[in-house]
Symmetry: D2
Subunit: 353 residues, 4 copies
């Protein structure tokens, strides 16, 4: 951590700050420039609150030089984490495709789609039971009944299942669900993060549409700090000024996250674009970029889907896509089992902290 002092900082206050830092076992090393003095802090600065330093009259700015997350940090865990998702491994060279409808609508629908996506090569089934909808007047999901139908589809096909949890009070309902999904809008619902952090179950954590990659990793840190290290990161589009797509899918998240962290990274091209016609090219791009998996919406009748129809693939288009995904995956892994050229530790750094 580096403290930049204001020009003409009061000497008495400076000595006071230096004294206080030493009491925290931090060694502040001053570099005195003509116009600016900085203090380089040596020691464990993770418990130092940047806000308190910034509030001091003599401080102009404070910059972190190391990341504020630990459990999720590749520096302290250099090898890729492999998460066991209901028997299916993700990460560390294991690539998986999660597919299924936005919402569970009926037994027939979810079982049919489950069989179709399994036949096409998907290895995990998705399906929403609790749906976050912008409008209170929109379909909110089948809720407990949706979970029951998902479990039925799991029994029929053997696919492990993932579903979104919106409230910690619902945890008991998700006991047999293999992977909990934390939606983008709940990425900083810290109460929910703490409670799933106390479970022993994989969590797919979606990036909020206005969250930086560092904030995503800090939210992963919330879960991991509670003892649950089975976190899968998911990029699903960020909010920008562009309006032809629903969100802007930030595929550079793949190499950046894999450089900063050891956790697996999954891409959601369905929500990331909002349009079925864009899903295939973005799914292939994500695969080529080195993602550890994809999560794709598939519906047997998109025009009748109770939500997110426009971004759902038909089973037939999904099957075609899966063949190309396999070809691209083979192309980028051609020279051995290695995923595409991965940034080395330290190649990417969190700026602006």
């Amino acid at each position: 951590m580096v403290i930049i002092l204001k020009p003409n900082a009061d000497e008495g206050q400076l000595q006071h700050l230096i004294q206080w830092l030493k009491e925290q076992n931090i060694d502040p090393r001053p570099c005195v420039g003509e116009h600016q003095t900085i203090l380089g802090l040596v020691g464990d600065t993770s418990q130092i609150d940047i806000s308190s330093l910034l509030a001091l009259d003599i401080v102009e700015d404070v910059k972190r030089v190391s990341e504020p997350f630990k459990n999720a940090n590749r520096k302290f865990h250099p090898t890729d984490s492999v998460i066991n998702a209901g028997g299916v491994p993700i990460g560390g060279g294991h690539f998986q495709v999660i597919a299924g409808p936005c919402s569970v609508e009926s037994e027939e629908q979810i079982v049919t789609v489950a069989r179709q996506v399994k036949a096409a090569g998907a290895t995990i089934l998705r399906g929403g039971a609790f749906k976050p909808r912008t409008s209170p007047y929109a379909f909110q999901g089948l809720q407990a009944e949706g979970i029951r139908l998902l479990l039925l589809a799991k029994q029929e096909t053997g696919l492990p299942i993932i579903s979104e949890i919106m409230d910690a009070a619902h945890i008991p309902l998700f006991e047999e669900v293999d992977i909990l999904q934390i939606g983008a809008r709940n990425m900083q619902n810290f109460e929910l993060l703490k409670q799933v952090g106390a479970l022993n179950k994989p969590v797919l954590l979606k990036r909020g549409p206005a969250a930086t990659l560092q904030e995503l990793l800090m939210s992963a840190e919330y879960i991991m700090a509670g003892g649950n290290s089975q976190v899968i990161l998911c990029e699903r589009g960020i909010r920008t000024f562009e309006t032809t797509t629903r969100y802007t899918l930030d595929l550079s998240a793949v190499p950046v996250l894999k450089s900063l962290s050891h956790l697996p990274v999954v891409i959601d091209p369905s929500h990331g674009t909002g349009s079925a016609s864009l899903v295939p090219s973005m799914a292939l791009a994500a695969t080529a970029a080195g993602a550890d998996g994809l999560i794709i919406e598939v519906h047997n009748n998109p025009a009748k889907a109770l939500c997110d129809g426009p971004q759902s693939l038909t089973p037939a288009r999904f099957a075609t896509l899966m063949r190309k995904v396999a070809a691209v995956r083979a192309a980028v892994c051609e020279e051995g089992a290695e995923p595409p050229e991965k940034p080395k530790e330290g190649d990417v750094c969190i700026r602006c902290t």
Copy 2:
């Protein structure tokens, strides 16, 4: 609502769509152009799901021409709502300043600050008991004890109080709190919105940093649809590419929201800028823009604050600011009780839906 058909849309499918719309009591009026045909829908389209229409093969785009929110809409409630906040009215010409520390830290701190902000003219006391923090290692608030201390300060000063609620499970703790605050990160925590919608208590709803103004109004609609119409809207900065400020305070939210809705609008210049030195000018600007109130962080010792110190004013600076706020308020209301020139209904419209 307007449906734009693809060029060369299949006639059979088109007849099918028209039939279905009629069954929903919607009258679809076709306008056939050389390159493009559109259907203008006449009738109550609020229950029509845009997603389902967009998923149809023959549909290129769908545009709403009226807002998807009803309870919050000025069109159906032309006069300003006045919210009774623990005895203090907000909205409809009633301007209030909410002030206090980011976090409640001790009895002495909260009571001292409460007395100071009251003396300077604040009429509602703020103080955080449950704190949403990006890092799991940062101070998380005094929680239940914080609420107890806030109530003490209320008793000492007579000021009504506001505090942030992060989880519906905490509702019983907030029974005597006058105004519930829904934080920016929870603006789309729909479970929480539904549960506070069932209460009879004012709610200050903060705009999420990536939320459009329409989405803010849709979240207000969640609360109001549950029967609780005591909603106060709050702009606190949106996320942009600019990095000298913590967020970009969007003051045009004041006239836009007041044109679209009858609900009061409060501005938070402390979180909106992240820097105490910017709070006075933005507080004055918000007042001049016609806001119904301000929410400002004040701490008796910002450098020792357990959170958000850099953006807290000292009581002395706050008192100076309050005098100028009063002068600006008087200047913009000079010609009678009218707030500054307000857009008329229909002057502003929600684009892009």
Copy 3:
């Protein structure tokens, strides 16, 4: 085009508007709803100025239902354009890699790099002679001498060359340059666009960091309206709130642009990420997404580069990348010469106009 009238629009003014529209050979068809009346305009609305309509007292909003660009529009030119770039075809199934240093620095440097990128498979040489730099104190390029050295490298290697033009007054200097590059910061330098529109020479037009895809196409339209239809579109990253990357590379631009327009689309992963370690994965992703080409910075000694060193690949890393790019290209084109699943006309539409 659809005009949405304000509630209770004055009947006299409405008749006036309808009369005026008819005089423009537009047939306005009213759809009268309970709360809202809209006019669907049938006829050629391209010459109607939206601003003038919006300024009318009785108009709430105006929405376009067809794109405001014509020459660049796939609707009026369904087959892919193939641009002849100094003998090398781009677009319509022809994939090309443009490579070279950010700046031309010396004869030895540009000739050496040109040979190396040619050996690795690049087919067009890039090199900056005029450099747009944020700071007036930074290296501004070798200018005319830089162009001379580029032409030398072209002579030595036979590679066609591309270089950025910053001012129309420099056009004579670029006479023998095969492709003119319009930089991101000049995407809306309309005087420059008009003047290159009068030339008979390919133009690679970069998207501005705050430009929508529609605005990029409107700038292409400026060039094409002047008679020069040899435009290559280039995505090079947009400005967002994320700070770990220099820009956010918007790869969904590939399928969106290819759906809306017949022009070739090239991706610049070097500027789009700002970091050499991220270039390989984003170059592979762009290839998988169906781009018609890549433009990549390569420098024989990135640490000594006079600009943009951190984002330049070494020739060795570039050669490794080229092998993987070829493999991915083969994977996505496996079933014949077809590029990856392309959105059909009308699948994507410009919203919000």
Copy 4:
């Protein structure tokens, strides 16, 4: 400047870097931490190229601790600059309102509007002769004839005039124009900046819609580095995800720019919002925030304006607004000539460099 080294940086390369820095008269002071080593650089680092440092294998990141602009920097010029704009002073306590139509359309129009805005209290006349338009099919301005008509209006009213210059080749046409305007889209047209930097004439420089405040100041630096220090900064809205307004007006630019720089700051609420109904509240807000002036579009018949009609005020609404602007200005300057509480030097700092 602070260099953050990668963990396990090669010792030989490190010594090489230290040696090179010393040759540049920079004293690199190492602070060795457990996980991270940083070098604090003492000396004049303004000529050090951050890119070259970032490209080194052993460097993880480089952070500036002082601003890269000098002429525009308040640190080296503590008192406010006062710019003489055709006889009218702006800055340093002098507040001016610039008003007039978006485009000059005819002699009658510009002279009529000039008289009306003068009568209402405007002190500088604006009018566009060369118009940057997104579409090549839109009205492009009267060009040379427009300048001639503006000069006529100046003669009639005595008001100094401002007009936008889009190409350095047009400079001779602007000889009698009092203030040159550089539009938002040309903020980084560096060739144009250099050429107006060689003139002796005030320049109003608009912030680009995707430009940070630091980049705006770097563009001011381009002009000042050429010897022309008569620069007026102008905020006119930045591009964000919000769509109810055309841009998001960033009023915190006022205190931030005035803290970082000594140059005057003017706000453009017309382009910043895109809607006449929002102009009054934003003009009042800008005044309260401490701006040195406003630039407002006024048209005698907005519905017939050849461009930007929807954001133009009528002369009557402008006159009403001017009375309130005067009242707010008086309110914020009540205690003497001081503008509203101004951040002190060092209160705001450029982060993320």
